[in-house]
Every structure is written in C-alpha cells, then in structure tokens.
C-alpha cells in the first residue's frame, strides 16, 4: 500500500461569488522513501496540495488517504494526532517558536510527538539530529540569533526528530540564497538516504528542481508532468 493515495482531488477556496479552483482533479500516489518535488509557478496550487497531503486541510472533492486513512472523514483532533506523529512540516518562513532555543524547538517537537521516551534518550536524540544538520555548536541560540539558513536547518531537524513517515516542505529554500539552499537540500537528501524518510517539497526554482528524484510539475491546479529520475 502506498503511503499517500490521492484520487480526483479538488480544492475550491471561498464560497459564493468569488471562488478559486486551486486544485482540479489531482491523482497521485507516493511510496515510502521517495524524495519528490512539486514544481510550478506561483499560484499553481503547490501550497494547497501540500496542505492537503499534510492533513492541515480537507479537500472539497475526491479522497486523500494517508496510510490508508481517509482524512476527509477525520475530526480535527484526529487530524492533529496524525500530524503529531507521522508528519513533519518545513515552511518557507521557518516558523520556529521564538521563545525557545534551537535545542528546545527540536525537543518540543519530539516531546509532543512521542511521550514515551526517557529524558536521556530524548536529549541524545535531539543533540544527534542537530549535529547531523550541522548545528552542533549553536544548539542554545534562540531563533533571532540564527541566520536564515541556520533557522531552516533547525526547522529540518525539528521535522526529522520525531521520525515521521512523511516530511512536507513548502518552498523551504525560497528565503535562502543559492549556496545556503544547496546546503539545506543536501541535508534533506542525506536524511532521506540515511533514515529512509519520505520527503515531498515544493519549489518554483529550477535550481532546486535538480535535486528531485521524482518531479511532479503542477500547472493551474493539475499535475502536468510526473517523471522519476535516478
């Protein structure tokens, strides 16, 4: 069974007169361990697609199944529970919790996702993941003491630490210069190889697109190209 199955998914924003058809019939399957890129111009529906995959939003038509569970049928709290354990998010604007240090931001995500771990194991895990993303010596800085690239690495570590089945990254490099972007992408790719975590990230930057192992091109709310690379 595929990790993600979408069938004829539609998303319409707004009721009444001004309606925007953001997705118009998307069929998509993603397997465990993929590193897929959703590529398309601004306004094409990338964010909408990722939000539906990540159970942050519900489709107005069609079905989205994660792990075989249909998200349209789930309650708010069930969706929250699903996101808590199985899905990690990375956003363009990092969205770290400003009052927590890098270390605490990561530990917070781990704490709310997996309550059963002992304290030492948790500490070990958080330090390990921060070292892997190259922040071993900046763990105790607050977000406002970190550069954009460093913040995004914290966000990557935060998404990874709970070992979710799926990580969704919505234009993770849009606010970064190209060199930093490459670094962050390298880290994501390496995590995908080392931990077999499934990644889906969106971009409108052709440079970023090169990293994709599966390229999904989206135009006007429809997937216009789906190509695997090696």
């Amino acid at each position: 069974m595929a990790l993600l199955e979408m069938e004829r998914v539609e998303k319409i924003y707004g009721q009444g007169e001004v309606q925007v058809l953001a997705l118009r019939g998307v069929d998509l399957e993603i397997e465990e361990g993929e590193f897929a890129t959703v590529f398309g111009p601004s306004g094409s529906g990338k964010t909408t697609l990722l939000n539906l995959i990540g159970a942050l939003d519900k489709p107005t038509g069609g079905t989205v199944k994660l792990n075989g569970c249909e998200i349209g049928q789930m309650s708010k709290n069930e969706l929250a529970g699903l996101r808590r354990k199985d899905i990690g998010f990375i956003f363009q604007s990092y969205n770290l919790i400003p009052v927590l240090s890098a270390y605490e931001n990561v530990e917070f995500a781990l704490t709310i996702a997996r309550k059963d771990r002992s304290r030492e194991k948790k500490t070990q895990k958080v330090k390990d993941i921060l070292r892997r993303v190259g922040l071993g010596d900046m763990m105790h800085r607050r977000p406002n003491q970190l550069s954009g690239g460093q913040k995004q690495r914290v966000a990557v570590a935060r998404a990874l630490v709970k070992e979710p089945r799926l990580i969704l990254a919505d234009e993770p490099t849009a606010n970064l210069d190209s060199e930093t972007s490459r670094e962050v992408l390298e880290i994501m790719l390496r995590m995908n190889r080392e931990l077999n975590t499934t990644f889906i990230f969106s971009t409108h930057d052709p440079m970023v697109m090169e990293y994709a192992r599966r390229l999904l091109e989206i135009r006007d709310g429809m997937i216009s190209r789906d190509e695997r690379r090696s």
Binding site: N51, L56, D57, F89, F91, N95, L96, V99, T111, A113
Partner: protein, 414 residues
C-alpha cells in the same frame, strides 16, 4: 511542561506589557488588603470600645426595656427586676462565661450651675462592675465608685462641658417611676477618659444603693444584667442559647451585635464599598488582560499555526494562553500581597489617625483615637487566588479565538 515554559518565556518576552497589567492587578490587591485591614481594624476597635465600656458581650433585660433603650427613649424604671438565683445560675452556665454584673440604668438630666444636659445614670454594683467593664482602668482623677457613697464618676467630656473637677457639686434629676423627676445631689468622685465618646459624655456612674432608693426601688433592683464572655466570637451564638433557656421568664438575652445594629450595618456597608471598588480595579485589570491576550494572539498567529501543524490540539494552545494569563495574575497578586503586607504592617504598628478623614464620634462610632489595622492572613490567600482566577477568566475568550484559527490561514498569515 513545555507549554508552561513557552508561556513563561512569552511573559518575559513582553516584559513591559506583563508588568503594566500586573501592576494594575497589584494595585487592586494592595487596595483590597489596605481596606480590609482598615475595616477589620476599625470594626475591631469599635466593638472592643463598645464591649469594654458600654454594651457587653451579652445583656439580659426585659423585651420592653430593650425596645425603649434602642429607641433612645426615657428608660422605664418599671422594667426593673430583682435578679434571682435561677436566672443568675443560667447565665453563669453559658459556655465561655467570664463575669456578670447587674446595672440599673436611669434616664436623667445632669445639672451644674444653670445648665442641664440629658444623661443616663448607670447605677452599678461596685463589687462586680470591674469584672465586666474596663471603665475603672481609665480614671484620670479622683476615685472610682466603691461602696454606697453617693459620689458619681463622669466622663472627661461631660466634666469639660460643665467645667467640673473632682469634688465639685452636681445635681441630677432622675426620671423615676412616675411624676416629677427626683432630685439627687452629690459630688464628683472621679473622672474617667474612655475611648468611647458616648460613655465619655452621656453616662454618669454611681453606686446602686443611693440611685435605687432615690427612685424608690429595692436596692437589689436592676434593669440589665451585663455579661462578659471569654471571647467575643461566642457572643452571638451564646446569646441565642441563653435566650432560649430564659423563654417564659419575661427576660431576654441579646448580643452586642444586636444592641449595635447601626455599627453592624456600617460594617456591612464598609465591606460592600470595599468590594465595589475592588471590582472596579479588577475590571480594569481584566480588560487589560483581554487586550494583551488579543494582541498576543494577533502577534503570534504564525506561531500558533505552526503549533497546530505540529499537531497540538486547540485545547493545548488555549492552555498556553491561559497559563500566560495566570502568570500575569500570579505576578500581580504576588507583588500586591508583598506591598500589601508592608502597608498592613504599618497600619498595624503605627495606625492612622482618623481625624484627618472624618469625625467618627459624630457618626456614632465609638472610636476616640488612632485606628490600627489588623492582620488577616486569610485575606491574602483569598485575594491572590481571586486575582489569578480573574486573569484566567479574562484570557479564555481571546485564547479560544486564537486556538480556533485555521492553521492554513494562520501559517500564511492571511
């Protein structure tokens, strides 16, 4: 645990705001503690001055006598009685009983020179009076009443009105059973200065024998039996117990609180006023908290969106806000209690002079000098908890508003 950390750090991050709202709450707490201390100080002194010099914990008399006395009418000598042993035994059996003394109160006019002044002659039993009342300890000249001599003891203020000193002569016109007033002459034996304005001016003490025989009553007659208990708090309940036991005997028992209805209602009004002003302060504090929480919710939309994306439920996000509000409440409450303790300490140690504010004597409150505050540890606990509860209650609506925001909108900040 993490929610608490986040809440606390958010409080620190917005230090200025936190401090402003906490200060308003602290002000409310200080005000309350001050008023509460003042009120209980005033009422404590008031009731002590009442009980020690005028109306004791429990008094026993006929119903008719009480009615007349409360209406400030001429006291009816016909309502006197000779206390018998069964009644006295019943009184002595009251829980917490300390002492009793019979008195014969007679309406009279006090005359010296060409002036007259209405007073109450309280004819006392010199042997036991001092066990119930403390008047004897406040002598400023002459001697207190001993034996059956016809000398009187008057208050310093009455002495001042007539310009009398110890040894000077006076004339009393006693309103006896019937007919014209009975004239009684004698000398001032002693002058007292008690911290009860009424007793200082309107009461003349003398021995029972000469007063009773002047109005042709048996010398053992009394119209009230004054009872002192070990503890003021027992008065109300024990007066009730005693009253029930004396049913059918023609006598009634009542506590000092029934005798001083005016003071009791004054006490209630004082507290009502305190609570009203406290409510105003807290309302301002609550509005402050609401606006701070709304601001925080707007500022932190993205953060809230991220928390929701990470899988926090609405309930958990509400908790962060509520914890923050509780934190503001606790800071305000703690500062308020601390400063309030300093204020109450000064009130208790140095007191404040009420002359500056109002003439309590003229109001009928038996306090002649400074007022001292009283400590009440329970008030500190109550007001602290109350402030925290108000803060939490004020934060609930904005917290739910923030928590219910759609995560998608929140993250994109639309």
């Amino acid at each position: 645990m993490y929610l608490l950390t986040i809440a606390l750090r958010n409080l620190l991050r917005r230090r200025g705001r936190t401090f402003l709202i906490a200060s308003i709450l602290a002000l409310a707490v200080i005000f309350f503690l001050f008023m509460e201390s003042l009120m209980s100080g005033v009422m404590d002194t008031t009731f002590s001055n009442l009980v020690d010099f005028e109306t004791p914990h429990i008094e026993v008399a006929t119903g008719e006598f009480f009615a007349r006395a409360d209406d400030d009418q001429v006291l009816p000598p016909g309502e006197s009685f000779i206390p018998d042993e069964t009644v006295l035994a019943e009184i002595r059996a009251v829980e917490g009983f300390s002492a009793l003394t019979p008195v014969l109160d007679i309406s009279a006019d006090f005359a010296a020179g060409k002036y007259e002044f209405p007073v109450m002659v309280r004819a006392i039993d010199p042997g036991t009076f001092g066990e119930v009342f403390k008047t004897g300890d406040y002598l400023v000249g002459g001697d207190f009443i001993e034996g059956d001599e016809p000398g009187v003891v008057i208050g310093e203020q009455l002495a001042g009105v007539f310009d009398l000193e110890v040894g000077d002569s006076y004339v009393l016109h006693l309103h006896g059973q019937r007919g014209a007033p009975v004239k009684l002459q004698g000398q001032v034996a002693g002058i007292v200065s008690v911290p009860n304005p009424d007793m200082n001016l309107r009461v003349v003490l003398m021995a029972r024998e000469p007063a009773a025989s002047a109005i042709r009553l048996d010398e053992a007659s009394a119209n009230r039996i004054m009872v002192r208990l070990e503890n003021r708090d027992q008065a109300v309940s024990q007066a009730e117990v005693l009253g029930r036991k004396m049913e059918g005997s023609g006598l009634e028992a009542r506590s000092y609180r029934e005798a001083a209805e005016f003071l009791v209602s004054l006490e209630a009004w004082g507290y009502l006023e305190t609570y009203f002003i406290l409510a105003l302060f807290l309302l301002v504090g609550a509005i402050g908290i609401i606006s701070v929480m709304v601001l925080a919710a707007i500022e932190r939309v993205k953060e809230i969106g991220m928390m929701k994306a990470m899988g926090l439920t609405e309930g958990e996000i509400v908790r962060v806000f509520v914890l923050e509000a509780a934190g503001v409440g606790a800071i305000g409450g703690a500062i308020g209690c601390l400063l309030g303790a300093v204020v109450v300490f000064f009130m208790e140690t140095y007191g404040i002079s009420m002359e500056a504010f109002l003439d309590l004597g003229a109001l009928g409150v038996p306090i002649a000098d400074r007022i001292y505050g009283a400590w009440n540890a329970f008030s500190f606990v109550v007001i602290f908890v109350f402030v925290v509860v108000v803060a939490v209650a004020a934060s609930l609506v904005p917290a739910y508003w923030a928590a219910r925001k759609d995560p998608v909108d929140a993250i994109q900040h639309r």
